[in-house]
Each structure stands twice: as structure tokens, then as C-alpha cells.
Amino acid sequence: MSAESNLLEVIGVVKKFPGVLALNNVSLEVAPGEIHALMGENGAGKSTLVKCIAGIQAPTSGRIVFKGEDITEFTPKKALDRGISMIHQELSPVVHRSIMENIWLGREPLNRFGLVDHKAMYRKTQEVLAEIDLQEDPRTLMENLSVAKMQMIEIAKAVSYDAKLIIMDEPTSALTDKEIQQLFRIVRALRDKGKSIIYISHKLEEIYEITDRVTVYRDGTYIGTERTLDLPVQKMINMMVGRDVDELFPKTPCPIGEVKLEVRNLSHARFFRDVSFTARRGEILGIAGLVGAGRTELIQTIFGIYKKASGTILIDGKEVEISSPKDAIKANMALLTEDRRTSGIFPMLSVRFNMTIASMGQFMNRVKLLSGQKIARKSEEYRKSIHVKTPNLEQKIMFLSGGNQQKVLVARWLMTQPDILFLDEPTRGIDVGTKAEIHRLISELAGQGKTIIMVSSELPEVMGMSDRILVMCKGVATGIVENTPDLTQDTLMAYATNTMNQETA
């Protein structure tokens, strides 16, 4: 492809942070009307590069050429004016405001008195939403939308800027198959209108389904660019990781003991009703369903974050009253929450602090004071085993890449050695290489007789790891199925959409 015909060219870009060389002389070429995947392990530098392109940060050196013009001034505003728009890895909508206010934030249409023209805003929003085929009232508050819908609104916003290049950094990490399909329809439609898309994801199926070409980075360096269809999976993984790895770690079979946790007719005022299930020692119980099915709310209610409306929870056959996370932790439960930013990380604090805060009880010395040595030893052990990429454990966690933050949180909860471990999307945003390692650690915990309850939107993950799978649809448990080898994704999806009868008929 000749240089002039490229919409975007990144040439020899370097980006340094204190103690970290995030990008080392990387390149990237994006043609008009193509969907271009950017792949690499956690911390490879993908987000860093696209943030430079979108003007959120400036590269240390190197050139970024857009529509044949060198970009010299790096601000988000300039990038938007040029026609570059980005959908962030971590969404940050103004949740208390409406869809239309979010879309036109900072460039509200004004009437002749210089006041915000809400009518025009409403009309323009309707047009944009129609363009991406989304039926929502522009006045709906963001907080009432599902994550998937918020994601669509972000895309609508990008469209509203009439962007030539739309960057999507892990847009599907919070979505399930159905919503992903909807997203893909929009993305393809945008491409057919001649727009270019840079697409970042750790889900390999998506890369094959939607992208035209793939560029791979490893450790901040450029490895190569290939046509997606010409690149076999193992080769792609090899380019990313530098060695061969299995995509998923199959659960090691282990003996399943007596019932540990029993939930009877648990209901929540809004999110779900009458859910019953049991989970045994040594068992991994998967929870599947579409986004909004009430999976997260179910486990958060068991954990005491939400208040239950009715129902009982039994541990080891004895009824327990759990009205706060504190009670849950006393009952030896642990929960890896789905939302990394609001209820997960302590952004300004160190990686070490973030890893160990839930396990402080383990680090006391003889006089009941915390031992810095013990803390250091344990966190170092986990850093190694799940490959957290950080210059040192004193680094503030907010400077880690998204996937590496997730790894730290996984470490936090694995470290607590709970009897019952709830995992909500544990491998969200984690690269293929480490995913298998985390699956192995989870399996190992089950092998020690712990009970694991795992919510995941990735069916291959649920089906690869679980002994049994609870499927939810719109707040109702539609089925609990044994994970036998003949179980298919279609069967699970039928439960998830509550259309089992059509399926079997």
C-alpha cells in the first residue's frame, strides 16, 4: 500500500514514562475503509499508542501522519477536529445526565441568545442514533442504560463528530455475544461508509470475525502486520507472546465434596427473583447470561452489597445473615467485582497495596504489627506467577495497563484464600497468555476444596472451566446444566434468552 493512500501512518513512535519505555519505535498503517486490529499482551503499548493518536497524550518522539499531514499538536480537541475519535477502554460518561447531553458535551448547539438549544440537541441526537440504528430516547439518563448501551452511545458520539477514524479500545470487554453482534453490525456499517477503525481486543474470535488486517506489538515494539485471514491463530498468539500457548486452560478434574453454599429463593426488589442453587466444595459453578440478566447483582446480593428482598443463604447447611461485605468476608467469602474502577482499584496507591489490602490479617508479626517483609514477599510471588507488568511493586496502580490492573485484582482475591470465591468477569481484558495462567490458578483453588462461582460473558471460558452452569435471563434462573462434553453454546444461549422450548422442539 503506498504511503499516500493511507489514512493514518505511525512512524517510529517512542513513548516514555518514568521508568517505563511504553513504545519503542513502533509503526502502524491504517487504510481508508478498513478495520485494523491492534494486538498484543497486556502492557504491550496498545492503549498508549491510540491515546497518542487521539491526542490524549503526546509521543516522546516519532511521527503520526493523518491524511498526509503530520500531527504536531496533541490535544483531544484537535484530534476530534481532524476527524479522529476514540472510544475508551474505561468509559467515563456523565452518568447523571441524559444521552443527548453526553453526546454534545462541550459543543452544545446554541440558540440565538447563546443559550443551549435543547430542541436542536434532541433532534440532532435522534438523527445520530438513527444512523447507528439505536432506539433510545435522547433524554434518557445515562445511568439507566446498560453498559452495552453506553458503549453504543459512545459510538454515536464518535459518529456525531463525523470522524474519519474511530478508535475502539476493548469495546466489547463488558458485552456479551448478542450485544457484540449489534456492535459489529454498526462497525461494519461504518466501514462500508468509508470510515476506518482501529480495533483493540483480547478476544481472538472477534479479531477474526471483524477485522481486515492485524498489527501486533510486543513489549512496546512492532512485530508485524498481516491480513487477518492469512494469519493462523497459533501464529498470531506466537507473534504476541513470543511462544506458543493454549488459548484456554482446561479445568483439571478434582473430587467434588459436600454442599458448601446454598441459596434458596433469593430475590431482589429490582434485579432478580426466586433464584435457588447450590455450590459444592471443589466445584466451579459458572453463571452465564446476557448483560443485564442479573448475574452481577445476584452475586453482589449474596455478598451483602445489595439488600435482598427475600430468600435465605446457607453455608455448610447453616443459615447465615449477610447484610454487608464485611459479614461476607467473615463468612470466608471473597468477591472480585466486575467494575474495576469504581469498586476495584485504589488508583493512587501502589500495586503492592492493591494486591495485599484484603489479606492484611496474613501479614502480622508476633506483636500484631504488619510485617513489610511478609507483604513484600507475598506480592512478589503473585507478581511473578501471573506476570504483572510493572516497573516495580511501588508503582501506582493507575499507571498500569488495563489488563495488568485486572491481574492485580485477581491476585488480591486469590491471595485471600477464601472458602467461597465469587469471580465476576475475572479475565476481562487479560491477554491470552495470562488467561490460561489465571484459569490454572482458579482450578488449583477448586482442587484445594474451595467453592468457586464465576460469572463470565465469554461462553468458551464458562464452558471450559465450570462443572455446572447456572443460566440467567432477565432476573430469572432459567436453568442449571451439567457441563457435559455434549453441551453446546447454542443450548446455553437458548437458556439465556429463555427460548429452550423452541430449541428442543
Binding site: 497524550q57 469498586s343 485504589f346 488508583p347 493512587m348 489490602i357 504489627l369
Partner: protein
């Protein structure tokens, strides 16, 4: 790979950012010594540390509060309230206007414990309201500031309590050399340091300020810890009251007005961030020293006390600007 040279300059920059305030303190000391050689004499150094001790001790408690993303405006008033009650129990038997005319001489420990207990309780009450009713700390402690001052006035009927023979021992020196307030301050620093760095409570303080929701999910009893944080701040105010009574030899119900602001300033200058989750005891100490050195230096140089105020204000603002640049680099 990055060359060692670049890493080195980055390292220097990083350290400068981190220890910038120590450099400032050092420059102040050098400058003042050059301008006035008496500045560096032992007696003057002891003077500075003694002066720093009262608001310095309060700044220790405030460090916990501010790291947890709170604020405590009540410590000055708590000092006055705890101070007058302790003073009333420490008057010499021969004093003329005794608060309790028939009270004999009590062991020194009693007024001290009473001061600490009053401080602790006032703080715990603020903490209780902050934790249970979720009212902003600013409001709760503003209320406590007025209430504690009110109690101090009611208790004394607006009159100072003096002739504190037994308590003035605390204002004295060990071996006739080291002023006791400095030792009390040092003890409070060590205690606070251990609490903040080596106990679960300390880690919880950081967690609550860093992300309260995440703290809750991580099993931190946020309410209980909030109460403990404000109780500790109150306790430090009570301890400051003891030092105050010892040094001054009498306590006025209007004493220590605005001390809370000096203590907040010391904490802030020392790099404790009002956005929560960041701060050190060491910083609170350095911050208190910066203020004390400045006040002392201005007096030595004969600079107008009013200008002193203006400069103090400017320093606080500059310190916070530096602090924000250091911490808020999230892209």
C-alpha cells in the same frame, strides 16, 4: 532500551518531586543561618521544635483524617475544651481563684488522662456522625468546633484557669536540656508512624481515602474506621492540650483559635493530598517544621507579623499546587 542516563535524570526529577518540600526546608534553614547566625544555635532549634510541637501534634491526627479524604476543623476547640478541664484538675493547692476550691493536689496523670479522654470522645462523636449519617466531615467537624468551644466557655464561664503548678513540669526540660514538649511530639510521631504504616487500621485509612467503595468490598469496616480516625484526631488534640497547658501554665477558653488551620496547613505542606489516599507522617512533621521555621525566622529578622501571615498563606497555596502536579498525573 533506555539509556542509564535518561533513567538517572528521571530518577532525580522523581525524587525532587517527592522530597521537594525537604529541599525547601533546607534552603530556608541555610538562608536564615546566613542572615542570622543565631538561628542555628541549639537553643533556637529547641525553640522552633517546641513551637512546632502543639500544632505539629494536631497535624499528626489530621494526617489520618486527610488521607481518608476527610477534614477536621474541630481540633483547636477540642484543645481548648480538653485544656480547661485538665487545667481545672491541675491547679496548685495554693492558687487563689481555684475552680474546685476543695480539691487537693491530684497526681499529674489524672488531668493528662482527662484531657486525652475528652479529646478522644469529641473526635469519636464527630466520627460517629460522619460515619452513620454520612454528613460531610466539613460540616460535622465545623459543628464540633463550635460545640467544643461552647463547652470550654460554659465550663469556665469565660475565664482562664491558671496556676497549673503540676502541669508546668511538662513545659520543662529533661536533664535541664531537652524540652519535654519535643519529647512528647517525638513520641506522638513514632506512635502515629507505626499506626499508619504497620497496622491494619493504617492500611484501612489509605484504602478509605483511595476508594471507599473498593475498601468496603475488600472487607474494610468503613464506618468503624471513620470513627477511629476522628477519635485519633481528637486524641491528638487532647495531647496537644496537655502540652499547651504545660507550656503556658494557664488555659483560656478562647485558646488555640485557628490552630486547626495551622495544623491543616502543616499537613498539606507536607504533601498529604486532600483528594485522599496519599500522605505520610514524615510529611506532616516536615510541614510543621516549615511553618515553625518560617515564623521563627521572621521574628528573628524582625519582619512584621502581618507579612508573616501573607507569606504563610502563599506557601500553603504553592505547596498544594506542587502536590497536585505530583499526584494528579493520570492521563
Amino acid at each position: 532500551m533506555v539509556s542509564a542516563g535518561i533513567i538517572k535524570t528521571e530518577w532525580v526529577k522523581e525524587k525532587l518531586k517527592k522530597y521537594g518540600i525537604v529541599v525547601v526546608l533546607f534552603l530556608m534553614i541555610v538562608g536564615l543561618t546566613l542572615a542570622e547566625p543565631n538561628f542555628i544555635r541549639r537553643t533556637n532549634i529547641f525553640n522552633i521544635l517546641t513551637q512546632a510541637s502543639i500544632f505539629g501534634i494536631m497535624a499528626l491526627g489530621l494526617t489520618f483524617v486527610i488521607i481518608s479524604k476527610g477534614i477536621d476543623l474541630s481540633v483547636g476547640s477540642i484543645l481548648a475544651f480538653a485544656g480547661v478541664v485538665a487545667a481545672s484538675l491541675a491547679q496548685s493547692p495554693l492558687a487563689t481563684n481555684k475552680y474546685y476550691p476543695n480539691l487537693g493536689e491530684l497526681p499529674l496523670l489524672i488531668p493528662i488522662l482527662v484531657a486525652l479522654l475528652i479529646g478522644l470522645s469529641c473526635g469519636a462523636v464527630s466520627g460517629f456522625f460522619i460515619a452513620k449519617t454520612k454528613i460531610p466531615a466539613f460540616i460535622a467537624t465545623l459543628g464540633m468546633m463550635t460545640i467544643a468551644r461552647g463547652f470550654a466557655l460554659i465550663y469556665t464561664n469565660g475565664r482562664p484557669i491558671s496556676n497549673l503548678e503540676s502541669m508546668t513540669v511538662i513545659g520543662g526540660r529533661v536533664f535541664g536540656v531537652i524540652p519535654i514538649p519535643i519529647l512528647v511530639y517525638a513520641g506522638a510521631i513514632v506512635l502515629s508512624w507505626i499506626l499508619l504504616n504497620n497496622t491494619k487500621f493504617g492500611k484501612n485509612v489509605y484504602a478509605i481515602g483511595g476508594n471507599a467503595t473498593a475498601a468496603e468490598v475488600s472487607g474494610v469496616d468503613v464506618d468503624k474506621n471513620l470513627i477511629m480516625i476522628y477519635a485519633y484526631s481528637g486524641l491528638m488534640a487532647g495531647l496537644a492540650a496537655v502540652v499547651f497547658a504545660g507550656r503556658v501554665g494557664s488555659v483560656h477558653p478562647g485558646a488555640a483559635q485557628m490552630y486547626e488551620l495551622t495544623a491543616i496547613a502543616a499537613t498539606t505542606i507536607g504533601g498529604t493530598s486532600h483528594s485522599g489516599g496519599i500522605g505520610t507522617i514524615w510529611g506532616a512533621f516536615v510541614g510543621a517544621l516549615v511553618l515553625a521555621v518560617m515564623r521563627n525566622g521572621f521574628t528573628l529578622l524582625g519582619i512584621d507579623a502581618y507579612w508573616q501571615q501573607v507569606t504563610e498563606g502563599a506557601i500553603i497555596i504553592v505547596a498544594v499546587i506542587i502536590d497536585m502536579r505530583k499526584n494528579a498525573r493520570k492521563d
